[in-house]
Structure formats: structure tokens, C-alpha cells
């Protein structure tokens, strides 16, 4: 079959809502796009543990500490589901991690901001996980089977992340003046970076949107961002706090909230490595990887040794039987 025919068969499957599986024929660019997107998503889950890990030992109570640990453990699992999905496209785990550590592969810019106070743990859960969820719910229907399955699993675990974050802020919002101020301050700092998580404006993209055609994505950046703003603008009323945007206003005609301009220069600066914590995050990842090398080696050595012992014992048993 000529390549055009393969491509037609492939596109027909996509149009017919039939998932693409690892061994199916797929255009090179489809494989590459998925590989890049899934591995970046995996890296985001893994690096995303760092700002939160920073607060485990300083959580205000045993309950909050247990919750935070459980959330972080979930994120590690999310990273793993996604790495496994990416591996089905033909790249090894080692290579992906190497690309993250070299700075070649990217992760969500949001994790290059520092978590300065305890209220940040609430704000991250509510806003950052909240933004991620909208994206991930959409991705449950993505066209690549292993990615979609990983997303279904992740979405099941994700809603507790957002709820615990909101609940934590709710407690602060009813606390002392100091706690209220801390809550508002965290919201002020995380609001705009959360909006940036959805990526550049739709108008900055080319008209031929391959990702949409291949159903890797099903909603545009602006659509998802608007959905997020509408959701948060309602929820914040329950907290009695304010979003740091003077332009935020309900638009009767559109049936949506209008909101102010996003600082895209800041977004690109952080993507390019000049955010407040880029260096720190990568260094923490590399250090963990390098200092864990001996553990990985020891585990392999131990596995080889036990396998050898087992084989020797089996041989001896065989010899005894023969005798």
C-alpha cells in the first residue's frame, strides 16, 4: 500500500473514533507529537512533586501531612502511567529522563514557581490541579489508546487533589486575619500562572491544526482557559476571596466571564528557563537520579544473584532426581 493509503486508513479510524494502538501504523508526525506531549506530561507530573514535597515536613497537622503525602504519591503514579504510555511509542524511559535532565524536554512551566507559604499547598491543589483536570478530562478521549487509558486512571485520582486544596483554603479563609491574608496572597500569586497553563492564545496558532484533526486534542487553549475562569470565578465566592484581576467580569452576552490580559512575556521567559525555580527544579531531579543510581544497580545485581541461586538449586534438584 502506498503511504497515502495508509494515511487514509489511519485518518478514517480517527474520524470513526477508533483508538490508535501501539502496533498500528501511524504517521511519523503523529508518533512524534504524541511522544513529545505524553513525555512532557509525564515530566510535569514528576517535577510537580517538588514544590509540594517542600511542605511535607512543615504541614500544620498530621492529617494535612498525610493528605499531602497521598497527593504527592498519586503524582508519582501519574508520571509512571504516562512514561509507560510514552514508552509504547518507542522511546526508552532512560532516554526520556535523560532529555528532562538535559533541559531538552520541557515540563509545565507552572512548576517553576516557588511554593512560599502553606496556603500555596491549597492554591496549587485548587488552581493548578484544577486547570490540569480540565485538560486531562478532555484527554480521556484522545485518539492514542495508551494515552487515553492513562488519562482515565489519572482523572479518577485527580478530583481528590482539587477538593483537598479547596478545603484547605476554605479553612484558612475562615481563620485569623493572618491566615486570611495568607490565603489571598497564595491565590494572587498562583492565579496568572494557572491561566498560562493552557498555553498561548488560539490566535497565535497556525490555521492547520493537526492536533485537532488527529484528535489528540479536542478543545482549543482558549476554550479550556475560559472554562477554567468561569469555574474558578464562581468557586472563589465561597472562599470570600478575590481573584487578582480588575477586568474580571461576568459578560451576559457571551455567557462567560471576561478577564484581563495575560503576560505572555513572562510565560515565554519561564518556558525558556528563566522562571524563579527552573534551575532549582532540574538540579533537584538530577541529584535524585544520580544519587539513586547505586540503588538501581544494587537491585539489578541482587536480582541477577537470586536468579542464579535459583537456577543452581533447580539444577541440583534435577541431579538428585536423576541419581
Amino acid at each position: 500500500m502506498p503511504v497515502q493509503d495508509f494515511e487514509q486508513v489511519f485518518q478514517d479510524k480517527i474520524d470513526g473514533e477508533i483508538k490508535i494502538e501501539p502496533k498500528d501504523w501511524m504517521p511519523d508526525a503523529y508518533r512524534k507529537t504524541n511522544l513529545r506531549q505524553i513525555s512532557q506530561h509525564a515530566h510535569s507530573e514528576v517535577v510537580g512533586m517538588l514544590p509540594e514535597g517542600n511542605w511535607v515536613t512543615r504541614a500544620p497537622s498530621l492529617k494535612r501531612k498525610a493528605i499531602l503525602l497521598a497527593k504527592i504519591q498519586d503524582e508519582a503514579g501519574h508520571g509512571l502511567y504516562l512514561y509507560s504510555a510514552a514508552e509504547t511509542l518507542g522511546m526508552s524511559r532512560d532516554e526520556m529522563i535523560g532529555d528532562l535532565h538535559s533541559g531538552k524536554a520541557k515540563y509545565s512551566s507552572i512548576f517553576n514557581y516557588p511554593a512560599l507559604t502553606w496556603a500555596d499547598m491549597g492554591a496549587i491543589g485548587w488552581l493548578v490541579d484544577g486547570a490540569a483536570i480540565l485538560n486531562q478530562v478532555m484527554l480521556c478521549r484522545t485518539s492514542y489508546g495508551p494515552y487515553a487509558r492513562a488519562m482515565v486512571r489519572i482523572c479518577k485520582e485527580e478530583s481528590f487533589h482539587q477538593r483537598q486544596g479547596f478545603e484547605s483554603l476554605l479553612v484558612l479563609s475562615k481563620g485569623t486575619d493572618e491566615q486570611k491574608a495568607m490565603c489571598q496572597d497564595a491565590i494572587n500569586r498562583w492565579w496568572w500562572p494557572s491561566l498560562m497553563m493552557f498555553g498561548p492564545k488560539d490566535s497565535e496558532s497556525t490555521n492547520s491544526d493537526q492536533s485537532m484533526k488527529w484528535k489528540i486534542k479536542r478543545k482549543s487553549n482558549d476554550e479550556l482557559r475560559q472554562q477554567f475562569v468561569d469555574m474558578i470565578a464562581q468557586q472563589i465566592k465561597v472562599l470570600g476571596m478575590k481573584l487578582p484581576d480588575e477586568a474580571l467580569q461576568w459578560n451576559e452576552q457571551r455567557g462567560h466571564y471576561d478577564f484581563g490580559a495575560i503576560n505572555w512575556d513572562e510565560f515565554w521567559a519561564v518556558v525558556k528557563g528563566n522562571g524563579p525555580c527552573n534551575k532549582q527544579r532540574l538540579e533537584a531531579r538530577r541529584k535524585a537520579h544520580e544519587q539513586g543510581a547505586w540503588v538501581r544497580e544494587a537491585a539489578m545485581a541482587y536480582a541477577a544473584k537470586t536468579a542464579q541461586k535459583k537456577a543452581a538449586a533447580a539444577m541440583q534438584a534435577g541431579a538428585l532426581e536423576m541419581a
Binding site: 508526525a29 524511559r93 538535559s102 520541557k106 518556558v271
Partner: protein, 121 residues
Amino acid sequence: MNIAIKKFYYGDIPEEKGGTGNYQSTADSHAWPLWEIFIRSKQGLDHKHVGSLHAADAAMAIENARDVYTRRMEGVSIWVVESKYISASNPEEAGELYEPAVDKIYRHPTFYQLPDEVNHM
């Protein structure tokens, strides 16, 4: 095929926009093998494939599978098998492979039209 994908989303930043780093990672020659994980969610049900993970040996694969796939009591039993031992049918041969079943509709109960009195059979 050379399609420039300019649009991107959370978790999908194109390479040309990314900064560069000069860190050289050392390839890990002790990479753990990949295992496929099957979980029985409760007694009486089949083990079902849930995903894969890396582990040094079977015992570690089971422990990791517990931590990754049963944190919310999703399982009562775990099977692990090293991925390299899985043999799979080829999707490109799916047509020939399943062809014998295509024209045997008489294998389905609905093929048989029975009188109303016994049609619940």
C-alpha cells in the same frame, strides 16, 4: 511527512521554543526491565491488564504494582510478567486472522428465528 505543529497546550511545548541545556546525562546501563501488570479487582473476576512498570525482578514488580495500581483498594491479586515474554498478534494481519469468523453468523443465537412461544430460549 513534514507537518509543523504550531499549536500546543499544557504539557506540550514545542522543541523550537524551549531553552537549551548543556547537561549530559549518563546512560543508565542498569535499566530495570519492563513488566506487564494484571490485577484481579475482586474474587470471582479475571485478572485484567492495567499497565506496565519497571522493576528489577518479579518480587519488586509485584510490590511496585501494589503501590502504583492498588492504592485505593483496586485489587486483591496481582500477576506480573516480563513484557518481553508477551507475544502479540500483528494488527496488519487482522483481516486474515479473524476472517474465518466473519461469515459464521449461525454461531450467534439471533441467527435462529423461533416461534414466539419458545423465543425466550
